[in-house]
Every structure is written in structure tokens, then in C-alpha cells.
């Protein structure tokens, strides 16, 4: 049994909230460069250039690349040999988010009541926390700030088995088509297949944590990701929806078993500020 104190967790979460917002990952930068080279539309090229300049400048001055510093989505892998001491685990993560968003001059974008009052909680809590118990004695925490504009374009659909792979591809591509310039393209498309209603959505979100340059270890799914990406980039939406070849930088799929009657498909759209940081305690 290993003991981890809440007081160790708070500063780690605090720092990840800031770092994720200030520093875009190299995988995203590389993809932006790659698509910039290939882009045919002069307007699109200009937009991609400004996005790359922006990300460089943000890192230099330590400001968030985007003012929408998002909902703090936190994925936890808690080793079953770990005992969390010195307080409440969820409280410690929220305290880290509170401090990170305050000290990093990040925007507080959470409202307490979703419909009637919509009053800002003023500290960007609560975080959306998903905890898995895993073997071992480590605690891995990932902070993935998620913006509202792209989240608003996401969707879950329970399809029929008869819809088949072609139906799934059509739904995913159509979801991007209907989103147009709203989710701040170039986007990353997270696709969750199988599970059930809520698991498919969570798979789609987790898919967004995959590095953009990784290749799906299952060749048949790598092929589907590539097919979806090609179809999406035929849409012509382009950066910011102004027209161009660069609508999505990557499509990432995660899948799970599902019920014989169901075929859940979730599409979680991520803007070009594809941000996440992880730490192992």
C-alpha cells in the first residue's frame, strides 16, 4: 500500500490546467504544419499560419492559446494499491482546478444551474472527473480542458446494426458537415463506437487523448479512421469554415463491445486547441 496525500495532488492539477492551456502539444503543431503545406486555399493558408503563430506566442507569453479555457475534464487512473490520504480526492482535484484557473488567468466558464439561473461558479469548478481503478501503485491524472464551441457540435446516436460501417462513416462525416465553421476547424474528431449510450460518449472523448500522429494498432480501424478523414476533408469547410482542404487534422476511434440490439456511435468534436496534459504521481 502506497499513500498519496491530497496536498500532493492539488499543485499537480493546478500546473496541468495552466500548462495545457499555454502549451499546445507538438503532435498538434506538426499536424498543423503538415496541413499548411498541403493547403490550396490562400485564405485557409493564412488562417493556419495565424493559428501557428498564435500558439507560439501563447507559449512565449504564457497566456492561454484560446480564451475559452474550457471545462476541466479530468481522467484519473488510480492504482488499486494507492491510499488517498489527507482529505477528499474529488475535492483535491477541484481545488487544483480552482487554483490553476485563478493563478493562470484562465477564463471561468462554468455555470452552476444549467438552465434557469446560469450563474457562473467563478472558479471553473466543478471539474468533470472520470476515475478508473487500475492495477499498481501509481496515480495518473490527465487534464483535458474542453472548449464549448466544439463540444456544442458533438452528438450521440444509437444506430442500427443494419446501418453498418458505411452508415457510421456517413453519420460521422455528416456531423462534421453540419458543424461547418462553428467548432473552430481544423478539428480533431473523436469517435466512440459501441458500449452503450453514455459509454460511447466517453469513448469519443477519450479518443481525443490519443496523440494525433499515432496509428490505430488495429489495421481495420486505422483504415476506417483514414477513410473518415479523407471524406471529411472533401467537405471543403476548411479552417474556420472559410473554405479549404483542411477541415480535420485527424480522426481517432475507440470502440467497445455492445448489446446485440444496439450500435451506439458518438462523435466528440475538438477544436484545433486540442489540449491535454498528464502526470503520474
Amino acid at each position: 500500500m502506497r499513500e498519496i496525500n491530497c496536498s500532493e495532488i492539488i499543485p499537480v492539477v493546478r500546473k496541468m490546467c495552466m500548462d495545457a492551456n499555454f502549451y499546445i502539444g507538438d503532435d498538434v503543431t506538426e499536424k498543423l504544419k503538415e496541413f499548411y503545406e498541403k493547403e490550396e486555399s490562400p485564405t485557409a493558408k493564412e488562417v493556419l499560419k495565424i493559428i501557428m503563430d498564435n500558439n507560439e506566442l501563447a507559449a512565449e507569453v504564457k497566456m492561454p492559446t484560446c480564451q475559452d479555457t474550457g471545462v476541466a475534464v479530468v481522467f484519473v487512473e488510480l492504482g488499486q494499491e494507492v491510499h488517498i490520504a489527507g482529505g477528499d480526492f474529488v475535492g483535491a482535484i477541484n481545488e487544483g482546478v480552482r487554483q490553476g484557473y485563478k493563478d493562470g488567468y484562465l477564463r471561468k466558464s462554468m455555470v452552476a444551474d444549467p438552465i434557469i439561473e446560469r450563474k457562473n461558479t467563478k472558479d471553473n469548478t466543478p471539474a468533470m472527473i472520470y476515475t478508473d481503478i487500475v492495477p499498481g501503485e501509481n496515480l495518473k491524472i490527465t487534464v483535458a480542458p474542453k472548449g464549448g464551441g466544439s463540444e456544442n457540435m458533438s452528438e450521440v446516436k444509437i444506430m442500427k446494426a443494419a446501418d453498418g460501417l458505411d452508415g457510421v462513416i456517413e453519420f460521422v462525416v455528416d456531423r462534421v458537415r453540419r458543424s461547418g465553421g462553428n467548432p473552430c476547424p481544423p478539428i480533431v474528431v473523436g469517435v466512440g463506437l459501441g458500449g452503450n449510450f453514455e459509454q460511447s460518449a466517453l469513448l469519443a472523448k477519450r479518443a481525443l487523448l490519443r496523440p494525433l500522429d499515432d496509428i490505430n494498432p488495429e489495421p481495420k480501424w486505422a483504415e476506417v479512421e483514414e477513410r473518415m478523414l479523407v471524406e471529411i476533408n472533401k467537405l471543403g469547410i476548411g479552417p474556420q469554415g472559410l473554405g479549404g482542404r483542411t477541415t480535420a487534422l485527424a480522426v481517432k476511434i475507440l470502440h467497445k463491445p455492445c448489446h446485440i440490439a444496439s450500435m451506439p456511435v458518438a462523435v466528440n468534436i475538438q477544436c484545433h486547441a486540442a489540449r491535454h496534459k498528464s502526470a503520474i504521481l
Binding site: E40, S41, P42, T43, A44, E46, V47, I50, I51, D53, N54, L57, A58, V61, K62, M63, P64, T65, C66, Q67, D68, T69, Y105, L106, R107, K108, S109, R118, N120, K122, G149, N152, G180, G181, N182, C184, K234, L235, G236, I237, G238, P239, Q240, G241, L242, G243, G244, R245, C271, H272, A273
Partner: protein, 185 residues
């Protein structure tokens, strides 16, 4: 891309009439910020026949909820928010003099029709280019609805705020035309 066209606020009708969809522009002068919650209040004021908290004649509204200003800066990261959420309110504001809107993403038919009728223009700023845009904002102060926090109305002085003409006064729409041009059937 071609050289940028420089625009000074308040926007003049003759200058706006020359702009074409796809033009790169740099806006300088005073602009106001408002997003969902502030728009709701502005339109309520108009319905009640009350005065707006700023002079809307020839004004530009920027759809943004900025991040807090770090020490030594007038504003934090300040990229555009998605404009369609302001579509229900925009025509009422154009009817009383609003001439420019800055945001991201396409507008509804009602908004485009109102732009043609009122000779107003919609500019696309680059979503996520929030630090580059913040660098063009030289001063910012909250002038209304402080209780809304990031959604409060701010008066900003900008120099060479970079954007692209998305909808001109003749009803052209870059979100349709640009996409048509690059779509592969």
C-alpha cells in the same frame, strides 16, 4: 493573400459598401464586446424603449468572452466566440445602427437579410488565435453588466484587429462560397 484593408470605427457606409467577402481587414478604433447574456439584455432594453449603454450608430460588436487580464496587460486571451448564438438578437441591433459584427462561424438567413437591409458587415476573426488578437487590443474597460463577468460589455480600443469579411452588404457569404469552391463531390 492581398494586402489588408484598414477600417476605422465608427464604420462609414461608403467604406462598408466597398468591402467584399474574403477581403482581409484590419480594424482600428473603438469596438464593444457582447455575447449571449449581454445581447439578451441589450435587446430587452430596446423592447422597453430604453437607451443602450453605448452609442450603437456605426458601432462594431465583437462576440468575445475574454480570459482575465494577466498583470501588465489590458486583457487576457480574446478570440471570437461562435456567432450563431447571437443570431436571434443581431437584427434588432442592426435596426438601430449596428454596422459591424465580429465573431466566428456562419450566420442565419435572418441575420444576412438584416445585413443587406441595414448595410452592415460581418467579419470573421480567427477562432483560437486569441493571443494574436489580444495583442491588437490596447485598452479595455467594462462599461456595463459587470455582474456577467467575462460576458460583461467592454469598450475596447483596438489597433489593426485582424479579420476577414465573411458577409458583405450585398449578401455574399464566405461560409457558403468558400466551402463550395473547395468541396470535392
Amino acid at each position: 493573400m492581398a494586402e489588408a484593408i484598414h477600417l476605422q470605427t465608427p464604420l462609414k457606409a461608403e467604406k462598408l459598401a466597398e468591402l467584399k467577402t474574403g477581403d482581409k481587414v484590419m480594424i482600428s478604433g473603438t469596438i464593444y464586446t457582447a455575447r449571449d447574456a449581454a445581447h439578451k439584455r441589450l435587446v430587452e432594453l430596446l423592447k422597453e424603449g430604453k437607451e443602450l449603454p453605448f452609442d450603437i450608430e456605426g458601432a462594431v460588436i465583437y462576440y468575445v468572452g475574454p480570459a482575465p487580464a494577466p498583470p501588465g496587460r489590458p486583457i487576457g486571451s480574446a478570440g471570437p466566440t461562435t456567432s450563431y448564438r447571437m443570431d436571434p438578437y443581431a437584427p434588432a441591433l442592426m435596426d438601430v445602427g449596428l454596422k459591424g459584427m465580429i465573431g466566428k462561424g456562419p450566420r442565419s438567413k435572418e441575420v444576412i437579410d438584416s445585413m443587406i437591409k441595414n448595410k452592415a458587415v460581418y467579419f470573421a476573426a480567427i477562432g483560437g488565435a486569441a493571443v494574436v488578437i489580444a495583442d491588437s487590443i490596447k485598452e479595455a474597460e467594462i462599461i456595463a453588466y459587470k455582474d456577467l463577468g467575462t460576458e460583461a460589455i467592454r469598450k475596447m480600443r483596438v489597433e489593426n484587429f485582424p479579420c476577414i469579411v465573411a458577409n458583405d452588404v450585398n449578401g455574399n457569404d464566405i461560409f457558403k462560397e468558400g466551402v463550395e469552391k473547395y468541396r470535392i463531390q
